[in-house]
């Protein structure tokens, strides 16, 4: 049983984001990038499922420009068997990414797509659900526990009200939340081994996906900044200050 894992290259989560002064976007040149943290979790889950014998092959997929190869190498070091680079230098919005991933699912006849619940750059939180919708298959988003048993998966989901459990038939799309697992630390031999694993390059066109007009970003601005407040020295001072403002 094959599993696809989508991995996206994003600005590293430790980077302090700077919005360009002309409002055209955020500074990404010369800034550290890494695999979307939620995709690392999805990748780790795939590897654990393979170790448990639930899946037999892991295929990492990315959609984007040439530098996406670094992210695929990371996925291969985690334990993906091979990778597909859907190369495109254009603007890949979630619906386009989803169409490409849906096509890849079909082409590979994969039984499960594991992805991050959101990418930490655009924070869209759409792609997984869109893939499931396009393929008319089950989705289990925001997963904090995944169990695969034959052609079914039982998934515990982190929802606003608590923890929800769904049972889904495979094929299905599962999106990873933070507490699904703790991704392993990559070791040098794995990183070396990953260099020899195969990466297939295809275009969106090869998969029958065309770039449709999407959302247009007309402006990017920093959030309104909070002015620095006051430091108080004692509990009494704090209580008085809050009372003076009518807050307590």
């Amino acid at each position: 049983m094959k599993a696809l894992v989508s991995v996206k290259r994003v600005v590293d989560y430790n980077v302090r984001i700077q919005v360009k002064s002309d409002g055209s976007g955020v500074v990404t040149d010369g800034v550290k990038h890494s695999m979307n943290p939620f995709d690392e979790i999805a990748m780790e889950e795939a590897v654990r499922l393979k170790e448990k014998g639930k899946i037999t092959e892991i295929i990492a997929v990315t959609i984007g420009g040439a530098k996406g190869e670094e992210t695929l190498r990371t996925a291969l070091a985690f334990g993906a068997d091979r990778a597909i680079h859907i190369k495109d230098d254009g603007e890949i919005q979630p619906l386009t990414a989803a169409k490409a991933l849906a096509a890849a699912m079909k082409k590979e006849d994969a039984k499960v797509l594991l992805c991050g619940k959101q990418a930490i750059d655009d924070d869209a939180n759409q792609t997984a659900q869109m893939v499931a919708s396009l393929l008319d298959i089950a989705q289990a988003t925001f997963a904090s526990k995944v169990e695969i048993d034959g052609d079914k998966a039982t998934v515990v989901r982190e929802v606003d009200a608590g923890l929800e459990t769904l049972e889904v038939d495979l094929p299905a799309v599962i999106s990873a939340d933070l507490r699904l697992n703790e991704p392993r630390y990559l070791k040098l031999p794995d990183i070396m081994k990953a260099k020899k694993k195969p990466i297939e390059t295809v275009s969106l066109g090869d998969l029958g996906v065309t770039l449709a007009a999407g959302l247009k970003t007309t402006k990017t601005a920093p959030p309104p900044s909070r002015s620095k407040g006051v430091m108080v020295k004692t509990v009494d001072e704090l209580v008085d200050a809050l009372k003076a403002k009518g807050l307590l």
Partner: protein, 311 residues
């Protein structure tokens, strides 16, 4: 003119408070506002929805299959409803809407706008990216607009209306590949995190679930809801539904206390709209002090009990 369909989130026969805030966003767009209630027995929820100011009509779809919020089951029905000339389909932006909206958007073959935080026109919206560190203004292309609404950015509308309630039947075939098993909900007597006027959150510094008692005691004293940082949740001190931040809940209380929380950008993403932020931390260099309106350097295990006793 716009014709807007809002999908009602509800549980145990009660309308979710986020729906009212979604109506506020719809009023910003302007036009006819309808609310759809998909449920096993929608009457009670529909009656609540009909009271919301600005709503012209409530549409109910009764079906035993709608007893639980399963996106794969709800989406085909919403797609059918949406085809009745709607220009916008809006969802409250909690996990319910986040799970469901993209499933609807993809079926309609349109891109989705996630987390609307401001409305400029019927097609132009602000939304947060990079954990709220860059606000982008997006223009949606022609066609139906599917969007989720960032609830912390909008104020609930009044509830003095009495809109018409109409039953609808939809013929969509519903999938059987997804089965709802159960929900383990945390029952709490405290105010709901997302609507509380006051919230006290504890971080890794609390050290254990027993120690969280100092946070609960203080919160109860001031009638506050209780939240937590990811570190506190991951360490098992409190359940996941208490997490505040980029990947937890986005909240906008009048008063927020961050106690033993360092102030990572992912945590701050959840509290950007808090009116007043108070930070209590023993490290004077903690980044939380850069955004706090009031900061107190000290040991929380001394400060909190003292606050509790002095109020």
């Amino acid at each position: 003119m716009s014709k807007i369909l809002i999908i009602a989130e509800h549980a145990e026969g009660k309308l979710n408070a986020g729906v009212s805030k979604t109506v506020a966003a719809a009023k910003g767009i302007g036009g006819d506002i309808h609310i759809a209630v998909l449920a096993a027995d929608p009457a009670g929820v529909a009656a609540e929805a009909a009271k919301l100011d600005g709503v012209a009509k409530v549409i109910t779809v009764a079906n035993p299959a709608n007893a639980n919020p399963v996106a794969a089951v709800l989406a085909p029905q919403i797609v059918e409803l949406a085809k009745d000339g709607y220009s916008h389909v809006l969802f409250p932006g909690g996990t319910f809407g986040k799970d469901l909206a993209p499933r609807v958007a993809a079926k309609l073959d349109v891109h989705q706008v996630s987390d609307i935080m401001a409305v400029h026109s019927a097609t132009s919206f602000d939304r947060p990216t990079y954990a709220g560190n860059a606000i982008t203004t997006v223009e949606a292309p022609a066609g139906i607009i599917v969007a989720t609404v960032r609830l912390a950015s909008f104020t609930a509308v009044g509830a003095g209306n009495s809109a018409a309630v109409e039953a609808a039947t939809v013929s969509a075939t519903l999938p059987s590949h997804t089965r709802y098993v159960k929900l383990e909900a945390q029952k709490s007597e405290r105010p709901d995190l997302q609507s509380a006027a006051r919230v006290v959150s504890g971080g890794r510094a609390l050290g254990s679930s027993e120690n969280f008692k100092v946070v609960y005691d203080f919160a109860d004293k001031i009638g506050a809801g209780v939240g937590a940082s990811r570190a506190a949740v991951d360490s098992g001190y409190v359940p996941n539904d208490m997490q505040v931040g980029q990947t937890g809940k986005i909240i906008a209380p009048e008063l927020y206390f961050a106690v033993g929380i360092s102030g990572a950008i992912q945590h701050l993403a959840g509290i950007k709209d808090a009116r007043t932020i108070v930070a209590i931390n023993k490290d004077p260099e903690a980044p939380i002090f850069e955004v706090a309106d009031f900061g107190l350097v000290g040991d929380l295990f001394q400060v909190l009990p003292e606050m509790t006793s002095k109020l």
